[in-house]
Amino acid sequence: MDIFLNCLYAFITGGILCVIAQILIDKTKLTPARILVLYVCAGVVLTAVGLYDYIVEFAGGGATVPLTGFGYAIAKGVEKAVAEKGLLGALTGGITATSGGITAAICFGYIASLIFSAKRKD
């Protein structure tokens, strides 16, 4: 039952984050690239003011899977590193915390380029 509720909260929260972006794309002239930048920065800011922790607590994957979660991970990493190493942590914390996702994207992207070729589109 717990899992079901967690999934429901993840579904609703994740869905709402996507809908906000969709409205921004359709109603303003914001390009997808700008939306992604906006979301990452929003994630950092929301974490900094202490809001995003609650969203993650509530929605789990619904908050960490969207790109705002990427910003959340960066901000959390920075907090932890600053607490441990002082000012140097401001430089090391962000990428350390997101290194898994970024390195995975680089590795799998590269491997995909070795294996696959682009196909004609219909």
Binding site: I25, K29, P32, A118, K119, R120, K121, D122
Partner: protein, 331 residues
């Protein structure tokens, strides 16, 4: 010196034409009319750019063999495409032992090339000119928009670049005459949206068409068709609406190559086709054949081109456009 409408003293004719397209275009309403198509859009090459060059090569060879002439029989090649530095044409046509001029007019290149060929012939500079233009969806998508496998949504006003090429031999002895040419002026009405190029190009088409009817004694009813290439749905509607406001009614006989080549809804091409290969292949496969068998006798062909680059767009620049008019007549 001729200003405005050019009426070549020696009237040029279209001797032959040949079209090559991709799979999606072959699946469209004009499918069977194209001379050649390729199942995977690669034309046996390992990159989209090389595939586009191959299309031009095949189209030009096809047109020359239909006209039964070899390299010595063609005095000059006029060619263009959408790729940076016109590489589609540069690499495709180096196999010919013929003088070559590369053109860039975006989607208007086909009309531009036919117009220049008509002037060369009319001015008795060259006797036989080859005109060939092409575009390739995958090659231009990579250059102007996103990687091919990138996932995104297209705006309803966006156009779909046609994979295709059309070649024409202009000279003496053909059935279809080119009695008049009117080169367009660059127009920029401040449109910055790459997803609405029809709206960016419509003002250029309006200007050229208005100048033509003002200077000539003709009215739109004198022509079987007024063909634009390629304003798509959005641009065509703007064109008809604004021309009507200025007292020129082309609603009955206007068609657009971008709307002819795809079934918009079924093939999910939003506002229709575009690209140098769109008007060239539609003209070659459909219009010219109808002129030859006299289904059509007199048409105006207006090629419209949006002349931006990704760099100018990123800098916030608007999209200048141009429209060239070529009259084709089998009377």
């Amino acid at each position: 010196m001729q200003k405005g409408i050019i009426k070549p003293k020696r009237t040029p004719t279209l001797i032959s034409t040949y079209s090559v397209v991709g799979k999606k275009e072959h699946d469209g309403p004009l499918g069977e009319l194209f001379d050649e198509y390729c199942e995977d859009d690669k034309f046996g090459k390992d990159s989209w750019e090389k595939a586009e060059s191959e299309m031009q090569l095949r189209a030009m060879k096809g047109a020359m063999s239909k006209a039964k002439i070899s390299d010595d029989g063609v005095d000059i090649l006029l060619a263009g495409d959408l790729l940076n530095q016109c590489v589609g044409s540069n690499y495709g046509l180096e196999k010919f032992d013929i003088s070559y001029l590369g053109l860039y007019g975006a989607c208007s290149t086909c009309a531009e090339g036919l117009g220049i060929a008509a002037c060369f012939y009319g001015g008795e500079i060259f006797d036989t000119c080859g005109v060939v233009t092409s575009s390739h969806y995958c090659a231009s998508e990579r250059q102007f928009r996103f990687p091919i496998e990138y996932g995104g949504q297209r705006a309803p006003t966006a156009q779909w670049t046609v994979t295709g090429s059309g070649a024409f031999i202009v000279g003496a002895g053909g059935k279809i005459k080119i009695p008049e040419v009117l080169f367009g002026k660059t127009k920029d009405m401040g449109i910055t949206d790459i997803n609405n190029m029809g709206a960016a190009m419509a003002p250029a088409a309006i200007d050229t068409i208005e100048r033509y009817f003002k200077e000539s004694t003709h009215s739109p009813e004198d022509f079987d068709l007024i063909i634009t290439g390629d304003l798509g749905f959005e641009g065509s509607e703007i064109l008809k609406d604004l021309l009507l406001k200025d007292g020129i009614d082309i609603r009955k006989n206007h068609v657009d190559c971008g709307l002819m080549i795809f079934e918009r809804k079924k093939q999910d091409t939003h506002a229709g086709g575009s690209g140098c290969g769109c008007s060239a292949s539609v003209l070659s496969a459909d219009i010219i054949k109808n002129l030859e068998d006299k289904t059509l006798s007199d048409v105006l062909f207006i090629g419209t081109g949006a002349l931006m680059s990704p760099m100018t767009l990123f800098q916030g620049g608007s999209i200048p456009s141009v429209a060239h008019l070529v009259r084709l007549s089998s009377k």
